[in-house]
Symmetry: C2
Subunit: 457 residues, 2 copies
């Protein structure tokens, strides 16, 4: 335990960077339920998955016993270009809040993809390359995942085909151009390039697309193209495995200064950032070595944890992907058009769903107006304009720090600052102009999409 | 001299960060010529300058003898939020180029302003605050300086009034929204809020504005508002002083590993980045302690060094600011509308102009198509999408590294990567779509604006 002054930013030396990912499932007493085949409702086999995903990634997805998986040297080398990410002591925020709490955040936005998504993108692209594939397909909504994958593919010389939800393609032309600069082919979805896209366009002419539809197109394109596989940037076990680099770096950095967090907070959409951030800390909790409070923060407009059901559901609206047991609002659920940020997926990572179900983690939901207010506050005080997604965690961290001010408790709070908001200025403009509002779905709306859950159990 | 392996990124510890700025003028045998009053052509007095600029900044502007000026603690604290910036060893670029050269770049883009501009913005805002002012005014073209100043003012609780060139205001709404999020008031220029703005609007209805006009409006607003002063993000001696933090950090980082650069390269618009980057190295050269090659890289569409004249000229088209002796294309010179990036100022820092005139530094100009090609190449290889301005330095660095490949020389190249291109995607889109072209001004065009130089000597 060192008593030295903690700097504003803790950077690990290259030699201190993690050499393995941590597989939290290995320490879970109740493992996440197996994926089921969407037609037969029987557990999917590795071979079934290999038609869609890269072989090595299928192995990682199904492995719930190996605690540490070595990171290949090529991926470590790529990580060195933009990692370690800084663990920041939020001295300015603490002072401004007047709180006795000590606040830290792990900032994943200092790379051109603007978020933590690159951590898994390079890993997935690497395994595709290693398998001798020509390229990969994927979908993107807000565009962070598509950008990250484009960067990874450009680095490795792999073809990258992105189906971008049509309304995002049109409303976020800059994200699209970043992907194009990295050599990716970006197609607005639904397109006329796939059977499922043509079907949707015929049935709903002039529609704006959806994430579920883009997934279906990307999967179809992968399974019908020689030398291609589909990759996905969140939800999956393998993604949480790669994202464990976030938590592992945090833990090493905090250990250097003898700091133990009391509360760990992350925003939750599909769960990739939260799962990665908490993994080594949750592992200690599961092994009985240490205790922590974990808080998942989701938008009140898409409240999978706090108002969803723990059940088997489809991952995509096209029902092409396997069934997963998770907290879900139903695959048909669509957040209100007034919802600005990401975190709009109807379901949640199976790992996090099981942990939440087992009461090892808390969850809370926050409205987007208060989220943007927290984002603006944070930007002014800490000098980083956050992504709307990340601002959910900021809001919850400020709330916890404010409670400490009231009680006088000197708690240590760690939260994940997943990315920057530089490509979200349309949403910030709505906030600046006072045109942002909250929409909280009614029980009827959620009940309607939950009524369509597949009858598995 | 250490022989240890050099990491991908060298970060200084907080304790290693510079505590003083370095004032290169103190070591210059031929000092930059004094500023002249635009009406009388006599050297401006401190009192004349204090009507426009903050007192302490005037002192810094005029001080050409004090080599080191202590950085106030409040500014050091702000620097700790986003500095030290990484000095990156471009292993991936070296490998891709197949060059024996060793390439380093100092990356200043990891902050929300997206560039090095924040280094001087916080200093200027600090001195304004210390003087008890209510606020500051400025102009912004591309928007990096305006964003940086907005961030600094938000942090210090200072009012910030930005005149943004009208075409940028309309074409770069996202930059504008970042400034608004930081609480700045952003006005398209020419506006109806100032006499000079109303005059220009009356004479040229529907015009798109220019940097020169925005400067004039910002200065007028400052001198006619109680408790306000004008601040400027480049060209001035005081700006180069603040930006010396870039070079000082570089030098400390390189010294840790016993590395001495042979060639130091920076893009040059007004000269703030280049001046800051080279300052401690140029100081050694001036004192005869070490030798380096310095290369200023400017756009061929706005070639102040390579085709301009070393003469007294106005800093702004409105001829409100003092005259400065510098390399200039004439205050009336406007780069072609097809020019995408920044670096569009007609003149150049007086310090750098004198150094270039004294043959202590080289200069080269590059076309924008080849600049964007270098930018795309760099983005794919090093994972950072550069600002078009920064890509000028990338292009020159790649050229020098390629020469090393031909000759087999293991030269060490250092260049300044001043910022990111996240708000420049309209220009990247033009490049991606093959719609970008070069425009090189004719001798007649340059001669026309040079003919209007004030007759001082």
């Amino acid at each position: 335990m060192s008593k030295q002054q903690i700097p504003y930013k803790i950077y690990l030396d290259e030699s201190e960077m993690p050499k393995s990912w941590y597989n939290l499932r290995a320490d879970m007493k109740t493992k996440p339920a197996p994926l089921l085949n969407g037609q037969t409702f029987k557990p999917v086999t590795a071979d079934e998955l290999k038609a869609v995903f890269c072989d090595e990634l299928v192995a990682q997805e199904l492995d719930d016993t190996t605690p540490y998986i070595a990171i290949p040297q090529e991926i470590l080398d790529f990580y060195k270009m933009y990692r370690p990410s800084p663990l920041v002591r939020a001295y300015c925020l603490e002072k401004k809040l007047g709180t006795p709490a000590k606040i830290y955040y792990k900032f994943e936005g200092n790379n051109t993809s603007g978020s933590h998504k690159l951590n898994s993108a390079i890993a997935q692209a690497y395994y595709a390359k290693k398998q001798g594939l020509k390229g990969v397909t994927t979908e993107t909504g807000a565009g962070q995942w598509g950008t990250a994958l484009s960067m990874a593919c450009a680095y490795l010389g792999l073809d990258c085909k992105v189906f971008m939800v049509k309304c995002s393609y049109e409303q976020k032309p800059f994200r699209r151009e970043v992907m194009r600069t990295y050599g990716a082919s970006v197609t607005p979805s639904p397109s006329m390039e796939t059977a499922v896209g043509r079907k949707i366009n015929a049935e709903h002419p002039g529609n704006n697309g959806s994430l579920g539809c883009a997934i279906s197109e990307a999967v179809e394109r992968a399974v019908t193209s020689e030398g291609y596989r589909y990759v996905l940037g969140s939800v999956l076990n393998l993604v949480l495995l790669h994202q464990s680099i976030i938590g592992l770096e945090c833990k090493t950095a905090l250990n250097k200064y003898g700091v133990k967090p009391d509360i760990i907070i992350g925003c939750a959409g599909g769960g990739s950032n939260l799962g990665g951030l908490i993994s080594p800390f949750m592992g200690e909790k599961l092994r009985g070595e240490n205790d922590y409070r974990f808080i998942a923060v989701e938008p009140s407009s898409c409240p999978s944890f706090t108002r969803g059901k723990f059940a088997y559901d489809f991952s995509d609206t096209g029902a092409i992907c396997p069934l997963q047991k998770m907290y879900t609002l139903g695959a048909d659920f669509m957040p209100s058009a007034s919802h600005a940020g990401g975190l709009r997926y109807h379901g949640m990572s199976a790992v996090l769903s099981q942990l939440y179900h087992d009461k090892l983690m808390e969850a809370t939901s926050v409205g987007q107006v208060e989220v943007f207010k927290a984002a603006e506050y944070f930007a002014k005080v800490e000098g980083i304009l956050p992504a709307p997604e990340s601002a959910h965690a900021i809001k919850a961290a400020i709330d916890e720090a404010t409670k400490c001010k009231e009680t006088g408790e000197e708690k240590t709070i760690l939260f994940g600052l997943t990315g920057t908001g530089y490509f979200d200025m349309v949403a910030y403009q709505r906030y600046n102009d006072g045109e942002m509002s909250d929409y909280i779905p009614t029980d009827e709306e959620i009940g309607k999409s939950l009524a369509k859950l597949p009858k598995v159990e």
